[in-house]
Symmetry: C2
Subunit: 184 residues, 2 copies
């Protein structure tokens, strides 16, 4: 509705989402957030930390990386991305990380939604809680040796679970990291 984008029309305004139209394109915007973060946590003994949780939109269990919305906590709109990544990592897995660095970023469904995600590699981990998510979440944490991740994912698919494709994006970057460190 702003003057620099006169064709933007809010078709429906919800609690967490708005549906917007620009020309003939219907899409979704998340409300009250400043960003989205994902975390690629790797333990000191070389295990990738993955989550298993039921996702209502998909109607099934999903294997995915820790992730969360930024700036959605009342009174904390200006939360930096890295702080949000640390918060989500701790809430969902119980881990804290001595080292966090941006691993990759991009969009996930640019024909449907405005969201982009920044993924942090979290290493030098130490556990200070059980994880499992906040009071609205019911998360099972899996720690899988990097060399066994593909077998683990295939097993979850056989059980009828969905794999979030961002897990494979993370595996691509983890492989590059491992190759680079070997070359150092």
């Amino acid at each position: 509705m702003s003057s620099d984008n006169p064709q933007r029309e809010v078709l429906w305004a919800g609690r967490f989402l708005d549906v917007v139209r620009i020309n003939r394109w219907e899409f979704v915007q998340r409300k009250n957030i400043t960003g989205i973060v994902g975390i690629v946590p790797v333990t000191n003994d070389g295990k990738l930390v993955l989550l298993e949780q039921y996702r209502p939109p998909i109607g099934g269990k999903v294997i995915e990386l820790p992730a969360g919305l930024v700036g959605d906590v009342p009174g904390n709109r200006s939360e930096p991305l890295e702080a949000a990544a640390r918060r989500e990592l701790h809430e969902e897995t119980g881990y804290e990380a001595r080292r966090m660095e941006v691993l990759f970023e991009g969009c996930v469904t640019p024909g449907l939604c405005d969201e982009t995600i920044s993924f942090f590699l979290a290493t030098d981990l130490y556990k200070t809680a059980d994880g499992g998510g906040d009071e609205t979440e019911d998360i099972i944490v899996h720690e899988v040796p990097l060399g066994a991740v593909m077998d683990f994912l295939a097993e979850q698919q056989r059980k009828g679970f969905f794999i979030d494709l961002k897990v494979y994006s993370a595996l691509f970057f983890l492989q590059r990291e491992i190759v680079e460190r070997q070359e150092d």
Copy 2:
């Protein structure tokens, strides 16, 4: 609204999307489709075929793989996934493929939308048209040698373009394919 899922409530019904609530969870369902396909096209001289297109939801140019909705063409609701992948590949890139095989599948934003995507590896390609999409699309096709894809993507990001994270998922599987073929 079906009896086996009594909590499902349609909050808003659009032309292409519905907003649905189950318990406290607001999410989006695409209408009038039976699936989504993506294509990972690799030319005979080892180039990955990528698209550049402006995406209204994100308000910018995105580098992404060919992809499209299945069953959204009137009169063709029962279109098989592979046929849809071939149709989208041809519309968007001008290529036809002598070989198509499922490479990976999963979900992309399971907290927001019910969509899952099946990606096909398309090889043994031959060009029969210019590509560029249908009359509603404005697509630039890039053919990038596999060894130069990461440099290409970094250059696009420097220009302010977004990278669809599914490109990295595809690169992960392409690397595995290459390793497996070398081991054969």
